[in-house]
């Protein structure tokens, strides 16, 4: 078996085992309500960080607007669920449909934003994606949608007027956001997470992924071997946006109320921190970094204000230890232990940076 295939299976297995064990522990009541409550958001954030890793790690373009795509998915999926709530009463079916609708909506936004944005590279691209992320948030902040006997009423920037007061139901209430049905369960999150992980890993380990990495490593050389640079940049960007949209759908269905201000610049940066600390291009790294860095502030909530101090220390420590030669050597020695002999393929394989976690 190829080394990458084996690595991917290990990563998938790791995530699956982790969530199954935690799921059982939480249903048995061992885990406590606080930690159990973290499982769904952690799953959602893992989906977000692996999808951003596709843009940042594989395609090599810094995107600071990832929360924007999540926002599109969250609201399109959420509004869809509210509208079909009376028709589709089975919650798993409803959220499946919402995931499809939200994912497609985010993909469409990915194409619309990707076409102008991907003409740029590097810092310029980062700044423009940041702008688009903020635009999406601000637009969501001003959408008012009301349903009554006469149908749907839409208004931008000011509350809807002239509705039938007796039957009017707020669907989208500007800055207050939406109240989507709480359909997200841990099982659904884990299924979606596994599918996203497999899709991204298979995409990376194919012709398409190699083309993207070639573009990342050397733009001119990639063109010189006949790679359609624009096409592959767009493919990676759109897949990344679509998966972020799916995570958004899960997110909106896991909260009682979801306000647009949640999808601000800080959220994009938070996901980027997970990706960068986990190691660019390493899905396993993203997963581990997300779990550690998301759980940490929540676990240390009791220590109050000090928790952000601990968070900062952990960030710095991870950055130092990940790249310190001493720890790299230590890790190599650890990997060279006879215990791991049976996992090693016979031919000499150099350790690839980022996978070493």
């Amino acid at each position: 078996m190829k080394k990458t295939t084996l690595n991917n299976i290990i990563t998938c297995g790791m995530v699956l085992v982790l969530f199954i064990v935690c799921g059982f522990l939480s249903s048995a009541g061992v885990l406590g309500s606080k930690l159990s409550g973290l499982l769904i958001p952690i799953g959602i954030y893992i989906i977000l960080s692996i999808s951003l890793n596709l843009t940042v790690g594989i395609l090599g373009e810094l995107s600071l607007g990832h929360a924007g795509f999540m926002c599109v998915g969250a609201y399109v999926g959420g509004v869809f669920s509210i509208l079909v709530q009376d028709v589709v009463t089975v919650s798993w079916l409803r959220i499946t449909l919402a995931i499809i609708v939200g994912g497609i909506a985010a993909a469409i936004f990915g194409i619309l934003i990707g076409i102008p944005v991907l003409r740029l590279r590097g810092d310029y691209l980062a700044i423009v994606t940041l702008g688009f992320g903020e635009i999406i948030k601000s637009i969501s902040n001003n959408i008012y949608l009301v349903k009554d006997v006469n149908g749907l009423h839409f208004s931008f920037a000011s509350p809807v007027s002239g509705t039938d007061a007796a039957t009017a139901v707020d669907i989208f209430k500007g800055a207050q956001g939406i109240k989507a049905p709480q359909d997200t369960t841990l099982l659904i999150v884990v299924i979606v997470l596994m599918i996203s992980l497999i899709v991204i890993m298979n995409l990376v380990d194919s012709k398409t992924g190699r083309a993207c990495m070639a573009i990342r490593d050397n733009y001119i050389a990639a063109q010189s071997v006949g790679i359609n640079v624009t096409k592959y940049r767009l493919v990676a960007f759109v897949v990344s946006a679509a998966i972020a949209g799916v995570a958004g759908v899960l997110y909106s269905h896991s909260l009682a109320v979801l306000a647009p201000k949640k999808f601000d610049y800080n959220l994009s940066i938070l996901i980027l921190v997970f990706v960068v600390l986990g190691g660019l291009g390493s899905m396993r790294g993203s997963i581990i970094a997300t779990i550690v860095l998301y759980a940490l502030p929540e676990i240390f909530r009791e220590v109050g204000d000090y928790r952000m101090l601990i968070y900062a220390i952990v960030l710095i420590a991870m950055m130092i230890f990940k790249n310190a030669p001493y720890f790299k050597d230590l890790f190599e020695k650890f990997k060279a232990l006879p215990v791991f002999d049976k996992f090693r393929s016979k031919n000499k394989v150099k350790a690839v940076g980022g996978e070493s976690k």
Binding site: L203, S206, K207, R210, A221, Q223, S224, I227
Partner: protein, 256 residues
């Protein structure tokens, strides 16, 4: 056909950057299976010619025919699909990818499975990936790089990086191979080995090669014909030994 049709034909090629005429009125014909040299002092415009041939720069005037087809002004990726592959003076490998993957990127356009087939792992993915692996290994074997297929390309020694670049270019199945200073930074042994490699490529892959070189030993050793460029102008053209003994050429290289 009485005489072999020209593989590459350049007519009145010129490019201007602002007021500077980097290359002016260049004419060049390369026959099939020929090994042609493009030489000249630093700054003569040799690499600029390569960049125009591969679509990195758009020529201001003139036309380029590859195997009878006009390819002037096409994009680099299109030109590669028409059959020109190149290496770079300053090595441009995909440095965070393995040696094998570098060559597999070169094979990209020859395999047709789609992104969806790749994600769903349909049979065509496995079949074509296997074919790619085999083809890539075969190419690496030519340059004796097959034992290092899993090494990161940036960890290869310099000479091998140059060879890998040639292997990657060959993977795109070109009709014409452009080598930009392939022997730069190589020791005499490596250069000799490279000369053998280039001869082998021309025979085995039925290739036509245009190369830029400073190493006169390499040029006089393997190039049948050369063109000498100086300040963007053609200085001399013809059979290698004759051209290299031309007083004009010697003056251009060594000064008066």
């Amino acid at each position: 056909m009485s005489e072999a049709a020209p593989m590459l034909e350049i007519k009145n090629l010129a490019i201007q950057f602002g007021g500077l005429k980097a290359v002016d009125n260049l004419n060049l014909t390369i026959k099939k299976n020929q090994l042609y040299g493009l030489i000249g002092p630093n700054g003569a415009g040799k690499t600029t010619v390569f960049n125009m041939l591969t679509g990195v720069y758009k020529p201001t005037a003139g036309t380029i025919y590859l195997d009878g087809e006009n390819i002037t002004g096409k994009s680099p990726a299109q030109i590669n699909k028409h059959g020109i592959a190149r290496t770079f003076q300053n090595i441009r490998l995909f440095k965070d990818m393995s040696v094998l993957d570098n060559v597999k990127v070169g094979l990209h356009n020859q395999k047709k499975y789609t992104a969806i087939e790749g994600v769903l792992r349909l049979p065509r993915y496995f079949r074509e990936e296997k074919e790619m692996d085999e083809k890539a290994l075969e190419l690496l074997r030519v340059f004796e790089l097959d034992s290092e297929k899993d090494t990161l390309s940036s960890n290869l020694p310099y000479g091998k990086q140059r060879k890998l670049e040639i292997a990657r270019a060959l993977a795109t199945n070109p009709k014409l191979l452009l080598l930009d200073e392939p022997a730069a930074g190589m020791n005499p042994n490596e250069t000799a080995e490279l000369m053998d490699n280039i001869r082998f490529i021309i025979e085995k892959f039925d290739m036509t090669v245009l190369l830029i070189e400073h190493d006169m030993k390499l040029v006089s050793g393997i190039c049948e014909e050369v063109t000498v460029l100086n300040f963007g102008q053609e200085l001399a053209q013809g059979i290698t030994t004759n051209v290299l003994n031309d007083p004009k050429v010697i003056t251009a290289y060594l000064g008066e």
